[in-house]
């Protein structure tokens, strides 16, 4: 299996060598280290069991298949060489199945399943989950085939197998049972979760320039705005003038003056409107005084119309401001 893996490592090194002595060198090492550490995460799965993810799904999505195969191979090499897990003789096979085939499978599945999907689409998260799930099962299937063909290739004179003792009809179901359920689920959960996290926080890393506000969230916001708009006529249920929002004519009206006094802790309202207020009152005349244009007779409909007008005005100003900001942003960029 070393012989099968070696050309892939060589090709991957050749492809990444040009970039390897830039930022890619530390990025690859750190990603490999990250993959190694996540292998130790105990991931609780539905049904009460726990599993471990390899991290090949997210590595392939973020780094692409070539760099990913190097990063996962590095993690597996550290595991085998330094921590003695997996063994040196089986490292070639582990790398071929998990790092090489796994990376290409994950990358291919993700690209295929997310084809034409919008940056904020839920389909991309599902594609990431499928990539992890598919990659781990492709690896397991390859391992099962490698196990299964060994009794045919390596046996002693008496026919007893020298290495793995099971034929394909036993190796494949035995290997796939655990991977189609536990290991596959762990990888799917980790890939989808990390993809969502990266899309929110580091969108450029998962090939997304910038993520617009999720459609679901904006839809909810529009819904909430519509409800608030419909509730605006509630304002007319309130009696009297709002405290501090008095008009000059309110000071002349005895009933309103009594309300002001009552709402101000029994401090009597002045007999005439304060001179400053009287002077400034006519500086700006609202186009819709008292929340209703002159031609509308119904107070409730007037409230609704004013609210719609106000919201529309805010949206228009925001839209113009955004266009201006976008245009100036374009000019700044070289």
């Amino acid at each position: 299996m070393y012989a099968a893996s070696a050309p892939c490592w060589w090709a991957a090194l050749r492809r990444t060598r040009r970039k390897l002595f830039g930022k890619t060198l530390p990025l690859l090492s750190l990603f490999a280290a990250f993959s190694f550490v996540t292998m130790m995460f105990n991931l609780p799965l539905p049904g009460g069991t726990t599993g471990h993810a390899v991290g090949v799904g997210i590595a392939a999505i973020v780094l692409g298949p070539w760099a990913s195969l190097l990063a996962v191979s590095l993690a597996l090499a550290i595991q085998a060489l330094f921590f003695g897990d997996g063994g040196i003789t089986t490292l070639g096979a582990n790398c071929f199945n998990m790092a090489i085939a796994g990376s290409f499978a994950a990358w291919g599945i993700y690209r295929l399943a997310s084809l034409g999907a919008a940056a904020d689409s839920r389909r991309r998260v599902v594609a990431a989950a499928l990539a992890g799930y598919g990659a781990i099962n492709v690896s397991a299937l390859l391992a099962a085939i490698e196990f299964g063909i060994q009794p045919m290739l390596f046996h002693d004179a008496a026919g007893s197998p020298l290495y793995a003792p099971y034929p394909l009809r036993i190796a494949i179901p035995a290997m796939m049972a655990g991977h189609l359920t536990i290991a596959g689920a762990a990888e799917a959960v980790m890939s989808a979760g990390l993809f969502s996290y990266l899309r929110r926080n580091e969108p450029a890393l998962v090939g997304i320039a910038s993520v617009p506000l999720a459609r679901q969230t904006t839809r909810n916001l529009w819904g909430a705005l519509a409800v608030v708009l419909l509730l605006t006529p509630l304002g007319i249920l309130a009696s009297g003038a709002a405290w501090g929002e008095w008009a000059p004519k309110d000071f002349a009206d005895a009933a309103t003056r009594a309300q002001i006094t009552a709402a101000s802790g029994s401090v009597a309202a002045p007999a005439a409107a304060p001179s400053g207020l009287a002077r400034l009152a006519n500086v700006w005349t609202a186009p819709m005084p008292s929340y209703a244009p002159h031609f509308v007779k119904s107070a409730g409909f007037g409230y609704l119309l004013s609210a719609m007008f106000g919201v529309g005005l805010i949206l228009a100003v925001t839209w113009v401001a955004r266009r201006v900001a976008q245009d100036s942003g374009k000019r700044v960029e070289p």
Binding site: F21, K23, P26, I78, I88, T89
Partner: protein, 271 residues
């Protein structure tokens, strides 16, 4: 259960860090293998591992395992910790794979189970035993190499096997950041554990694990940028120089001859 997943993960981290420390300290002991040139050890041990993998006879595997034991004692390694860390783990894992072969391999029945029609066959026993013996021997020999050689020396020695220099740099950096990121992840889980009251359900546990993974990934990428800037600041221009100052001494020549003889004998006798 809520703290169970975190506790299990933290135990895994602590185990890995402890293993790193043990490997570092045992590599600096004054023993037989520690005194050898790392290149000799690497090539010699690999030769023995390959011989064990090629061997078809249990006696030869047992002899190689015995040689491993002698080398471990001569290198002042604790057999008890080897048993716990290597033999028991490898046995558990391999036996799980090998056990069904006891019944599934067709042949002469030596023990019939009291219930059902399953029987352990002589050929099945041999198959399972060969599998376990081969894995135990190979893992013991490769662990001896790791436990008696400082990691950086081992990496430098890999150059003798024509491993490209980029791969060695990548392995060295990965190992360094494995330790650092393990410590970081450990601290993240410990701090979360210390703030947690009550139980989390399965969904919340998954969210906790995946989000911690996400934050760790962010930290990893940020660290990647910082490491790159630090490398640039220290004048890294894409050239890698390894300070290979290994020198073969008389004892190293004796050792490489010994390894070669043992491996050749095992290959010839094991056919």
């Amino acid at each position: 259960m809520s703290a169970g997943v975190i506790a299990k993960t933290v135990r895994g981290f602590t185990g890995a860090l402890a293993q790193t420390l043990v490997a570092e300290s045992s590599a600096h002991e004054h023993g037989l293998l520690q005194g050898l040139d790392p290149r000799v050890k690497l090539v010699g041990m690999l030769g023995l591992v390959v011989a064990a993998a090629l061997s078809r006879k249990l006696v030869v595997m047992a002899a190689l395992f015995g040689l491993g034991l002698v080398l471990a004692v001569a290198s002042r390694l604790s057999l008890w910790s080897l048993a716990k860390r290597v033999w028991l783990v490898a046995f558990g894992f391999t036996f799980m794979i090998a056990a069904p072969a006891l019944f599934l391999t067709p042949g002469e029945a030596v023990y019939r189970l009291p219930v059902g029609s399953l029987a352990i066959t002589a050929q099945g026993m041999r198959s399972a035993l060969v599998l376990v013996a081969r894995v135990e021997t190979a893992v013991t020999l490769s662990t001896l190499l790791v436990l008696t050689t400082p990691w950086m020396h081992l990496l430098k020695a890999l150059r003798t096997l024509m491993v490209p220099v980029e791969v060695i740099i990548l392995l060295a950096m990965t190992h360094r950041y494995v330790v650092l990121l393990t410590e970081t992840a450990n601290a993240m889980f410990e701090s979360r554990r210390s703030r947690m009251v009550g139980r989390l359900n399965g969904h919340e546990q998954r969210r906790l694990m995946v989000n911690t993974g996400g934050v760790l990934l962010s930290k990893t990428l940020e660290m990647g940028n910082q490491v790159f800037l630090a490398m640039q600041a220290r004048g890294f221009r894409g050239e890698v120089r390894l300070l290979t100052d290994f020198r073969m001494r008389g004892w190293d020549y004796v050792a490489i001859c010994g390894f070669a003889a043992a491996a050749t004998a095992a290959v010839v006798a094991g056919r």
